[in-house]
Symmetry: C2
Subunit: 103 residues, 2 copies
DNA sequence: CATATTGTTCGATAAATCTAGAACAACTAT
DNA sequence: ATAGTTGTTCTAGATTTATCGAACAATATG
């Protein structure tokens, strides 16, 4: 299957992170990953087309927020919590505490 | 002159804040206000047209990041540091520590 | 008063982003 | 194998955002 690229967090710029988290749909995804550790794309609580979800996951991945590994036909996503929080302390915590909006 | 509206920070949603800080130009503006406390628009280190700057300032204002007061023909802008940090702890600090990119 | 300064608003264009359908590839299961 | 599941890529449309010039309003200055 596809080979997922994950950036070094030291290469991720703050505007890219902010951009990634400026979309309520992606905020919802992060919320879900805070609750469930590892989720396949089709287990995420979003109501968008598959192609759209692929796009959102790519944005989160490129912002260093999520890690994606292949497991058979599915791909499992998790938060890069620790490393991310080291590079951008407090952000994930803010998302965690923010109200869940429609996605 | 214009009457500037400043939202209650409790009414500001996280995606709006993220959106506001997803632009390098606006990050530069926040950087400048971290250094100088209060600055008129024409003192900000940005290389965009006046109309564009007005737009960026409005985005920052609506995200609760800056306060604008009128002083004669100019308007003076400052960060709403304390209250903002109470509502969204750590964000301003992250911006402060982030590298300055081109605007 | 005449001119310059400061910033807004309007209108228009360009660029980026979000969205999704359709075709496709890879794996799973019957 | 045949069909179903999972997710990507391509293409395209729709929405949002960024940008700026020009006209304007309000203040400041000579």
């Amino acid at each position: 299957m596809k080979i997922y690229q994950h950036p070094d967090l030291s290469d991720v710029a703050l505007p890219a992170v902010m951009q990634a988290l400026s979309d309520p749909c992606r905020i919802s995804i992060v919320h879900a990953l805070l609750k469930h550790e590892e989720l396949a794309c089709n287990e995420l609580p979003v109501e968008v087309a598959k192609a759209t979800l692929t796009h959102h996951m790519a944005v989160l991945r490129e912002a260093g927020l999520i890690y994606t590994r292949v497991d058979g036909a599915k791909c499992l996503n998790s938060l890069r919590s620790e490393e991310f929080d080291k590079q951008f302390p407090g952000i994930i915590s803010l998302v965690e505490q923010s109200a869940v909006v429609a996605s």
